[in-house]
Symmetry: C2
Subunit: 372 residues, 2 copies
DNA sequence: CTGAAAGCGCTAACAC
DNA sequence: GTGTTAGCGCTTTCAG
């Protein structure tokens, strides 16, 4: 052994380095020294509990202590760790929002409404786009539950026919509320436009403008909102003693292309329509097709949409439509969800599903104003 | 004592109830019995550590154990608690995205790009709208830092002139990346369109269409992207030996109204322009104003926008514009941020700011195609 | 390959 | 009013 002093020295060094690494490195290194309530406590020579209470403005803490704590907190540039607080309190103050698509302006606006209220109440908002598919909707829900969100807001994807993932959410006790695209068989609260009334008013408007053969280019019938609109459309016709003609009802997928198809379908009929009611995108497609067929809007064919998408105001002719109060819808959706969250926190028995129905607002523009 | 056997029994019961409450209630009551790695461990008579490792597919765990753990996990309907894991690991697998406004389609699409990649990498996305104000931008940043996001993506608000909140983020060590609206004085990476080149190409296109007096309705000059576009516009004119005329440059706030104002301003000049380059919204306003002034597009005045907003394809005339590859921008933004996050995790010294520049793509439509 | 043990930063029941 | 204490559910050394 005496023969290899250098070697043993080296080995000793190596060991030292290893030990050093083991002790100092594992976490503290990359995290630097975060300022915690402990740091503040140490600085003021009080306990972390007091600091915690002072920061959350607890009633049993003296004003003096609160002042001091807040002072030191700002001095040290303290930033509360929400993750830790969430773990302990069981509340994340975060909600998840499931949006079908980013392409429709409507959802962006609702999102904005949700967020504005959420922020006021100190909630963070997680967003997840489903791209109208069931698979991604399920993944979104999973992600939200894993993140332990306090509540979930959903506008159902077109591709969703199986709703078991929502039942899963209910079972886990996380409040959930639908907006715009709802399902009423699950006992889940919802915030929606009065699609039935909106469709009625739109159809009535066309009737009052003197149109006699009013068609409806509808959306996918498995989505309640679209079948509701069909009902409103039929109701209006009946209310004015007009016949509901099956050949004037076409069901597409609520897209520009569907609008073109609808028009081609209608015009190939024996008695073509002189007016069409549809969602905004379908209406847009319809307008394009009608113009290409050299027919005049609103003279030959009147058009009214539904949704008040941004483009409607800028196309030629400008599109009559129905506004869905998007910002309000977002705010209402959050409000309803927020109530359910609060209720749950208070151990109150869960109230039955509420349906909040927003008034559709008519917007008259060129595409349907024959008499002007 | 013997006289009141019932009473003492009752008292005993009461005490029991109190004790029961004290022990069982304070949290467990509302949370029900969550399934944790402990439950799984108990079920299989192994330790939580092993379960944790098995679930995260650790290399030192036998396939057999992994299989069993996963089996029991699904059987018990286990859902990992991300909050707990975040607290311990220091990583939340969440990023925050600061968006100026929900009204512009552009941001919705970028958001979608960000999210699609984020989801693939297992990241959640927090969204915060700043409404173009500095105050809300600061609040958003604060919320993100409190939530301990792993990284932040920002498109700077129009109202932001003071950038100290971003410096704060840098100081705290949270990776941050700008997209679209960047600031290059802070050493922060960014993903942007080549606005200079885009403006050059747009202007060049107008020149090649034979327009002689090309105006530029610019945006707010304190935003780099708009001043870049002005540079590109000027460069193109010079490249083709055309004079840069100050009276043909108008700076507005990139809105429809600004477009109308720009046109009114230009038409009141001595030698009005025969073409205008602007952002999409300004271009839309310009088109409206030009039509009202009974001038023809593209014959009297040619128009080209920038941004490829949805409406451009549907208005009359259809708007020539420049596509900014929104989805790609979102994905790139996430990719750059993700790299920074990974780098940070690996103790690697922070690389200097990278600037990712996306190629603008010309879209020729009616508003600028004189010769056709 | 698995177990034991020590927290991450914060909150809240209980004690004084 | 404030301190004490005990975790929330998970990860991660370190020790076999």
């Amino acid at each position: 052994m005496e023969k290899w002093p250098y070697r043993s020295l080296t080995e000793g060094k190596r060991l030292h380095i290893l030990q050093y690494k083991k002790r100092e490195c594992p976490l503290k290194y990359k995290m630097a020294k975060e300022v915690t309530i402990k740091s503040i406590a140490k600085e003021l020579d009080i306990t972390p509990s007091t600091v915690s209470r002072a920061l959350s403005n607890h009633r049993y803490i003296s004003e003096e202590t609160k002042r001091l704590v807040n002072e030191v907190a700002t001095k040290l540039n303290y930033r509360a760790n929400k993750v830790a607080s969430s773990l302990r309190s069981g509340k994340t103050h975060t909600i998840g929002v499931l949006i079908p698509t980013a392409k429709i302006n409507f959802f962006g606006n609702v999102m904005h409404g949700i967020e504005s209220l959420a922020n006021i109440h100190g909630y963070n908002v997680l967003i997840y786009h489903t791209n109208e598919t069931h698979a991604q909707e399920v993944k979104g829900i999973e992600a939200f539950l894993a993140a332990r969100v306090d509540g979930i807001l959903v506008s159902v994807a077109k591709g969703t026919m199986d709703f078991s993932h929502f039942k899963e959410v209910q079972k886990s006790g996380v409040p959930i509320v639908f907006f715009d695209r709802a399902n009423y068989d699950l006992g889940i609260s919802s915030v929606v436009t009065d699609d039935c009334l909106g469709a009625f008013l739109a159809t009535e408007h066309l009737i009052k403008q003197g149109y006699k053969n009013i068609a409806h280019a509808a959306g996918p019938m498995h989505i309640k909102l679209f079948s509701d609109r069909l009902v409103g459309y039929k109701d209006a016709l009946r209310a004015y003693n007009m016949k509901v003609r099956k050949d004037l009802i076409y069901s597409g997928d609520a897209s520009i292309e569907a609008g073109r198809e609808a028009i081609r379908h209608f015009l190939s009929g024996k008695v073509p329509p002189d007016a069409v009611f549809a969602d905004d995108f379908t209406a847009l497609g319809a307008i394009k097709e009608i113009k290409e067929q050299k027919l005049k809007i609103p003279e030959d064919i009147g058009i009214i949409g539904f949704g008040n998408e941004l483009f409607g105001e800028h196309i030629t002719p400008t599109l009559s439509t129905i506004d869905q109060q998007t910002i309000l819808m977002g705010k209402e959706a959050f409000r309803v969800l927020f109530q359910s969250i609060e209720q749950k926190n208070k151990f109150t028995s869960i109230a039955s599903a509420k349906k909040t129905i927003l008034k559709p607002i008519m917007i008259y523009r060129e595409s349907s104003l024959k008499n002007k």
